[in-house]
Symmetry: C2
Subunit: 596 residues, 2 copies
């Protein structure tokens, strides 16, 4: 089996850290009982491991290819996507009203992790479709919802996000695509969009493009961008397929990784104009796009965790299998390389980062559920603040570490890791996009500083740090050398983060470049502190279970060991980050442009 879903750790995080029982108690989440969730995860794991994972390497060898405007996906993708839709997996978190399962985000999150671990390229199609569903749910008209949602949620149709243009990447103010109003209320859309994931493919009957464009009367900049729905195939009033719309896939990209996922260049309106309908109100397109972007960013974070876990699993198998050199403490003959301390360190580094990132992501997903479903408004608001703060961390940190983890996976394989047939290199290539799309790490970090830290004077950040301090105190109160060590490191790291928050708030106006020079470092430090926080909480639970003689002792001991590793190897980096952010901006901005 090339991918085994880590159901045990997932269940641990769901139940002990993310509070599945609390989520299940929320109005609207009654179906997410422990038994149902267990069954859902097991079924999903089976589907991902048996159907989706085996196509991953094939997709790399035989990527989707373009011919004359059509894209043929890797063998097996079409059938697998049909099965995916029919089994209801596209609809896990979407409303029952439109055919979904209506489960909380907390339950959809491990499903997302498994699908991505199984096959990053395949998973992108449902992920983008989720985004389109989210946007329509938020801002679509009743007619748009009625026409499109059920088919998107069933997996019959798929969705795309059309933001980027050659001159407009991170800077969406530069979008130039045009939408011209017609007498019948529709719009004719013109323009070139690039990097459109699954912008063209053969896995569904229709593709629903969500497109950012400007109306003739729109103001300049980001305030003049509207969102349009442009189906590949027009839909008749009775829901039957109509004419082919004026949108063409003129090429797909030759990429470093995720090769099975077709990245399209789409040409809208070359033959008279692509017919589209406005979503929501004019000039509010970016706002709607950000709603789906938030969900998509969280999902990309899950991609990082998924691919990192996959790389970890592969490295563990190889390390147990590959016999080379004797044990350092002596052995009759050569032993498996997992005996070598540095291999062990690399495996622990992979494992600890995956577990910490998973825990933080699931806890974030639970906050999302509470922010939507909790009966108390104050609690909803607090959870929303937490969720909003964590989205860039989950996206940025989980993806940055996924590159490191995948690279370490190659290293553990030695020379074999560099040979493509081994498969470790694919993860290294695939992971490399994750810190770039759906907003680069710097874009996430800018969001963290600007909207999430400076705007409220650091109040939300400090509120969360206070929760970390609470865990630190709990760790210190336990009679355990490991927990004490974890608590001490967590305390130092939390202090470093608080220093950084204070620095950012104090200097954002007077030295904006100096503050933003540390933006990505702030994001990474936050990831380490909050990931370490969750590992500290996990160690507390594990310690309690062990003392009570409750459950799988080996699992809990491993959890404490992993938390200890995370503390000494990652939380201990906090002071270095603090120095680089608080004192390191002089060096960042020291050179003039012509000195480069």
């Amino acid at each position: 089996m090339s991918y085994v879903a880590p159901l045990k750790d997932m269940q641990f995080v769901l139940n002990e850290l993310a509070g599945l029982a609390d989520v299940n108690a929320l109005p609207g989440c009654e179906d997410a009982t422990p038994d149902t969730v267990e069954a859902v995860l097991e079924e999903n794991a089976k589907f991902c491991s048996e159907v989706v994972a085996p196509m991953n390497w094939e997709g790399d060898k035989s990527p989707s290819h373009w011919h004359d405007g059509h894209v043929t996906t890797t063998k097996g993708f079409k059938e697998a996507f049909k099965a995916f839709g029919e089994a209801g997996w596209q609809g896990v978190q979407h409303p029952v009203e439109f055919g979904g399962q209506g489960l909380p985000k907390l339950v959809a999150t491990p499903c997302l992790e498994m699908l991505n671990a199984a096959n990053l390229s395949f998973a992108l199609c449902p992920m983008l479709t989720d985004g389109a569903i989210e946007a329509l749910m938020t801002a679509g008209s009743e007619e748009q919802k009625a026409t499109y949602l059920t088919n998107l949620i069933s997996g019959k149709w798929t969705g795309t996000m059309n933001l980027t243009e050659p001159q407009a990447g991170s800077d969406l103010a530069m979008v130039r695509s045009r939408a011209v109003p017609q007498e019948d209320g529709t719009f004719k859309v013109f323009g070139t969009k690039i990097y459109i994931t699954y912008g063209e493919h053969d896995m569904a009957d229709n593709i629903i493009h969500l497109v950012l464009a400007r109306t003739p009367s729109a103001p300049e900049g980001i305030k003049g961008i509207s969102l349009f729905l442009v189906p590949k195939v027009l839909v008749n009033a009775d829901g039957s397929p109509g004419e082919r719309n004026d949108v063409q896939c003129v090429s797909i990209e030759h990429k470093l990784g995720i090769k099975a996922s077709p990245t399209a260049v789409l040409q809208f309106g070359d033959h008279g104009g692509a017919i589209g309908t406005l979503i929501g109100e004019e000039n509010r397109g970016l706002e709607y796009m950000f709603i789906m972007m938030n969900a998509a960013r969280f999902a990309v974070g899950m991609q990082g965790i998924g691919i990192a876990d996959r790389a970890y699993q592969k490295a563990v198998r190889y390390a147990k299998d590959r016999v080379q050199s004797r044990d350092l403490t002596g052995s009759p003959g050569p032993v498996a390389i997992i005996h070598q301390p540095d291999v062990r360190r690399m495996l622990m580094s992979m494992r600890a980062q995956v577990e910490a990132a998973r825990a933080l992501a699931y806890v974030t997903a639970a906050a999302h559920d509470a922010s939507h479903h909790h009966p108390d408004e104050v609690t909803r608001k607090a959870n929303n603040l937490f969720y909003e703060f964590m989205v860039p961390v989950v996206k940025g940190w989980s993806t940055e570490l996924s590159i490191d983890v995948a690279s370490t996976g190659v290293q553990i394989h030695g020379g074999m890791g560099f040979i493509e047939e081994t498969g470790a290199a694919q993860y290294y290539r695939d992971a490399r996009i994750l810190t770039i799309y759906e907003g680069t790490t710097a874009i996430q970090a800018n969001d963290m500083i600007g909207r999430k830290t400076v705007r409220d004077g650091g109040a939300n950040a400090k509120g969360i740090i206070a929760q970390v301090r609470q865990t630190e105190a709990e760790l210190a109160a336990v009679d355990s050398a490991d927990l004490a060590a974890i608590g001490a490191r967590l305390g130092e790291a939390a202090q470093a983060l608080e220093d950084v928050v204070n620095f950012i708030v104090a200097n954002a106006k007077s030295d904006i470049k100096g503050v933003f020079a540390g933006s990505v470092l702030y994001l990474k430090l936050a990831g380490i502190v909050f990931g370490g926080w969750q590992m500290g909480r996990a160690a507390l639970v594990a310690d309690k279970k062990l003392k009570a003689g409750d459950g799988d002792a080996s699992f809990y001991r491993a959890k404490i060991g992993t938390a200890r590793f995370f503390a000494d190897h990652f939380l201990a980096q906090a002071s270095g980050y603090r120095a680089a952010i608080v004192e390191g901006s002089a060096g960042v901005m020291a050179l003039t442009e012509d000195q480069f």
Copy 2:
């Protein structure tokens, strides 16, 4: 121009940090006058930029390919290699007696950097040939030298290193290839060797394979390995080509990167035995191999620096070119992304690491020259100790950072970075082998701990740290905020390294796994401290020049800014490394194997 040799920084390092004048004063190095060296570097730069660099991308698209035992290299490689040999570049550091230029290693080192920056795949062929030359110079018989050296040094023939077998990678004790003595004094060699760089190709008339194998009477393990010379084409007594030897290239690997460099599986002796001659004495093969390995390891470190600099140059060009978003302090319209502080931070991170690694490598090369040529034995010995200590650092640290630098280069390109046509991704793929071949980073780190630190009770390591302290004191004595800050960080980092050395020496026997659990971290910390030391020395020189109004003020100011960046962003990480090494081994070894 896709690669511009950084001649200015090279000259600065050569003259101000590595002491080219001192090397030139050594007996046997009289030819390396400043004028000659400048001319050599300029010529080499021209050749590398104009001939070798332009084939780099082509080699990735159209790699070397295998057909029926023959390997055809990328278009242009054959002609370029011929020109390379004819211009004398293979012989830069080799004896005049055999047709070389007889220049010091310090001069060969920037040439090596340029060739590798221009084209890692191409550069591997001369690099392996250098290794074969080195081994023959050390242990070859007069007849072997007479027969092979001139043709290897002229580039007419090339050399290979045949170590790895499917079951014997990092663990050479497991080598199984056999060499059976014949009545005429030759041996018949049998076995399968894998990962043989340029093991077969069409760029030279003959390939001289240096092969590790066991004679029938050899003891088990690494003490029973001998080194054999097995030419692809047998050489007649008069030097003319004889029969084809019994060595076949049965396939080449499909790799993540360095695709133009053919990585061969070689089959020796399938048709009666490949004819070889013993190099040096029986059972001392590993010892000879280590002589060439030391040179090769240093050279791989230079590969890391070369590819990192190439990635940096490309990122700078893109960052100056790509217009996106306004300046944070306000601008009439969008500006080049080099204005964005995080882009600036990434560029500085690339630049600072490249400059620090370059300085450390060149200083190490100068020590090699002094260790060979200095008239005073005590000085020779001291320089040899320094060189030996630094080889694993130069190899391990420069290559580890090259992956980070190449990855950052992709990130700066945003979505474009993930598109293969852009070229940034090739560096990310190519660099990934560097921490693996010629001994993984862990193998380098084991060498550092075992042979270079524990054996002498940390004396050599501490002696070098004392030199770092001297630079710290000099920095503190200068009236400059930047230099003071650099000095303070350098002092803290040197202390962390000293703590680590003490920890290693104290615990190597009682807790061998605990000590080796931190081996790679020790290597990386040493790289940061010694790299930071060189940047500190560079800042001292720059400050002096600026105060004297001597030379290019902009260059010197940039050097101080880069040193400052290195201090706050890299030296500041030292305490985290210290913690992970000294206190973090518990976590590394916490899990049992079945808990993975």
